[in-house]
């Protein structure tokens, strides 16, 4: 243990240290002036600690046999001595050093690290930390990434906060790879002049990382689970994200960064052309947004697959993202010559693995039927608990509402049978959720693509609407079309370069859920009527 402040107070101290110990250069510790010294019988009257052996002034010896450990000039012959006083050869140096404050070599810390289970460290500088410390970002500590999935996969208690950090970290890595000048072709330089200007690149790297960090700030409590039906028409979490990026609080931060950032640029890159088409993003801004929200290998997707897989404990979401990122390139699309985010041939298997990982984790985790019905029970609760049955779209109100407030309300409501939303709250708290009556399947879909809805409508008539719930997740996204740079220099479409990608099925589910006490009877009813329900729905002419 070292003395605090690097100094010893004036006084009488006992010490015993061998010369060899001095030579190690180890600093003095309290122990050096304590118990060990008493046994050796060396008395030190005045001492100041440093790393130098000649660092104390006067020493008194009460008896012979002490070992001269300081500068090596004086030693005793083993006879008794009442008092030996000696002046150490470095006294002048010692006193001078003692008068001066210790050298302070600490420099201001401008770069910071945050520990992360997926990326080991997430790096950010002081400017970026100001954004991270803002209220909208800190609020994400209280928004679960996967809503109530922890009721099925208990480990899935991670939050949007760490996901946002992960997306920022990966976005920076991808940016550095795809803008490395030895990886950019002349054709791309011509189409994207920004990529050749170092000052602009510095600005856009900052925009990209901040857009990545802020891309989820608009999420409502329990993320996607509570979004459907609980916002006014025309609103979604992306629009709320946009409002927050434009808010006075965030504008103040953007304007004080080095360099100052334009909120419009952050919005365009964070949300992409799908949600910010009105801002008319340029080719370059579109590519930057692809780095975050791109369908094929956006870092949002890369991070959530890895992170959700880690926390749920399922292995499906894992793939070699390091390899993938190292092989990303901006390439001219073979069909049109337009620049787009693509991959070298060597990374194609990693891209395939990512897209299969997505397919598997969707079917195993995100679209797990019990997870889906908990989302519905949560929505049922919120519809009666929220004022006017809707979330507010005011930024101030949004920032005040997190999973914590909703969870508290659910727990209270579950205990009180006369409180608003008691039935739904109770089903969540007591795990008394609705059960699957019918699930979409290829055979019925081929007969009638509306089969699940028809079953729901018929069951609703038979067993009453309060006992039935319908859930639909339609297939989304397109075929996976990105350019691939082959080892011979040709650029091919991904779906021409990879047979695997073509075999990737679209993900879609539909469930009809029923109250547990009605399920047995309903299953028997469905067995009898299933065919007629599905066939009947086909007879329509329009």
């Amino acid at each position: 243990m070292a003395w605090p402040g690097g100094k010893l107070p004036l006084g009488v101290f006992l010490t015993w240290r061998t010369k060899s110990e001095y030579n190690t250069g180890m600093p003095w510790t309290a122990g050096d002036f304590g118990v060990q010294a008493i046994s050796a019988g060396v008395v030190v009257l005045f001492a100041r600690r440093s790393k130098s052996p000649g660092d104390f002034g006067f020493a008194f010896s009460s008896k012979a046999g002490y070992r001269d450990e300081t500068a090596g000039q004086i030693s005793t012959n083993g006879e008794d001595h009442l008092l030996v006083l000696y002046l150490l050869c470095y006294i002048s140096i010692t006193v001078t050093m003692a008068e001066k404050p210790p050298r302070n070599e600490k420099v201001p810390k401008l770069h910071h690290e945050v520990r992360d289970p997926i990326h080991v460290f997430v790096h950010l500088d002081s400017d970026e930390r100001r954004v991270l410390d803002s209220r909208p970002l800190q609020r994400l500590r209280y928004i679960h990434q996967l809503a109530l999935t922890y009721l099925i996969y208990p480990g899935a208690t991670h939050r949007r906060f760490e996901h946002s950090l992960g997306v920022m970290e990966l976005a920076g890595r991808v940016f550095d790879v795809v803008t490395a000048q030895d990886k950019v072709t002349d054709r791309v330089r011509k189409a994207i002049p920004e990529i050749t200007k170092q000052n602009e690149l510095h600005y856009w790297r900052r925009v990209l990382r901040m857009a990545a960090l802020a891309h989820d700030v608009g999420h409502l409590p329990f993320s996607h689970a509570a979004e459907r039906e609980l916002l006014p028409s025309g609103w979604d979490h992306e629009r709320l994200t946009r409002e927050i990026i434009y808010s006075e609080e965030m504008q103040n931060i953007w304007s004080k960064l080095t360099p100052p950032l334009r909120a419009d640029d952050i919005v365009k890159v964070a949300l992409g052309p799908k949600k910010a088409a009105d801002l008319k993003p340029s080719v370059w801004e579109t590519i930057l947004s692809e780095i975050i929200v791109g369908d094929a290998f956006g870092v949002d997707r890369i991070d959530y697959l890895l992170r959700d897989s880690h926390h749920t404990g399922v292995a499906y979401g894992k793939f070699d993202h390091h390899r993938l990122i190292e092989t990303l390139r901006i390439l001219s699309h073979p069909d049109t010559d337009a620049p787009a985010l693509g991959v070298e041939e060597g990374g194609l298997q990693s891209a395939e693995a990512l897209l299969w990982a997505r397919y598997l984790i969707y079917t195993q985790v995100y679209l797990h039927p019990i997870r889906r019905i908990y989302d519905i029970h949560l929505r049922d609760f919120l519809k009666v608990w929220l004022k006017n049955g809707r979330f507010s779209t005011q930024v101030r109100d949004h920032l005040r509402m997190t999973d914590s407030e909703v969870t508290s309300a659910i727990l209270v409501s579950a205990l009180r049978s006369n409180s608003a939303g008691h039935d739904a709250a109770s089903r969540i708290v007591r795990r008394d959720h609705f059960k699957v009556l019918y699930e979409r399947n290829p055979l019925d879909v081929r007969r009638n693509s509306e089969a699940a809805r028809l079953v729901f409508e018929a069951a609703e008539k038979q067993f009453g609407s309060k006992n039935l719930r319908f859930d639909k997740y339609p297939a989304k996204g397109g075929s996976h079309d990105f350019p691939v740079l082959m080892s011979d220099g040709r650029i091919l479409r991904s779906d021409a370069a990879s047979e695997v990608l073509l075999k990737l099925p679209p993900v879609a589910t539909e469930f009809v859920f029923i109250a547990p006490d009605k399920r047995e009877k309903a299953l028997s009813w469905l067995e009898t009527n299933r065919k007629s329900i599905i066939e009947k729905g086909r007879k329509k002419n329009g």
Partner: protein, 178 residues
């Protein structure tokens, strides 16, 4: 137009395009639907905006994928270009169910298929972008629109852009006359 009517229409469009020799990939259907909505005023209800390869609709992309998932379109690989979207027997049945809708828009489908026939993706990108600019800035000259197209799509030369704008002016004229 409800969802099933819209699906019948899209599968009819894919069918017409294929009959005219189109590759009928996702991009072909995107651009053809854009022409159908903007030029022929068929109320399919998709939101288009200017994207990487010209006018594009995320809603339409999702709908085409959902149609694949529901067995109405098949994705078939064809070297060396991207896959084609082939209408299935189930989609033919759907068109039969919605025969009145199909009859109502038959001419419009035919017109678009005739104009776009076997054009490749690069040509479709230029033409559809030229149409987008013409719809937004119809009072501007060919050269002004060509320069604007080049500014938006730097990989398209001004000359190629001008040709695309001229061709669109011609198609618009024929469309109005038909």
């Amino acid at each position: 137009m409800d969802r099933l009517q819209r699906r019948a229409l899209l599968s009819g469009l894919a069918d017409s395009l294929r009959q005219k020799g189109s590759w009928c990939g996702e991009t072909h259907l995107q651009k053809a639907t854009y022409f159908l909505q903007k030029l022929k005023k068929v109320p399919a209800g998709f939101d288009f905006f200017l994207y990487k390869h010209g006018p594009f609709s995320f809603d339409l992309r999702d709908e085409l994928t959902a149609m694949r998932s529901d067995g109405l379109l098949d994705l078939r690989a064809q070297w060396p270009y991207g896959p084609s979207l082939i209408p299935t027997e189930e989609s033919a049945e759907l068109r039969e169910q919605y025969s009145r809708t199909m009859q109502k828009y038959k001419k419009q489908l035919q017109f678009v298929a005739d104009q776009l026939r076997n054009r490749n993706v690069s040509e479709l990108e230029k033409l559809a972008t030229a149409l987008y600019l013409t719809m937004e800035e119809s009072q501007r000259s060919v050269s002004q629109r060509a320069k604007r197209l080049h500014a938006l799509k730097p990989h398209v030369t001004v000359d190629d852009a001008a040709k695309a704008v001229q061709e669109i002016d011609e198609i618009v004229k024929v469309s109005k006359a038909s």
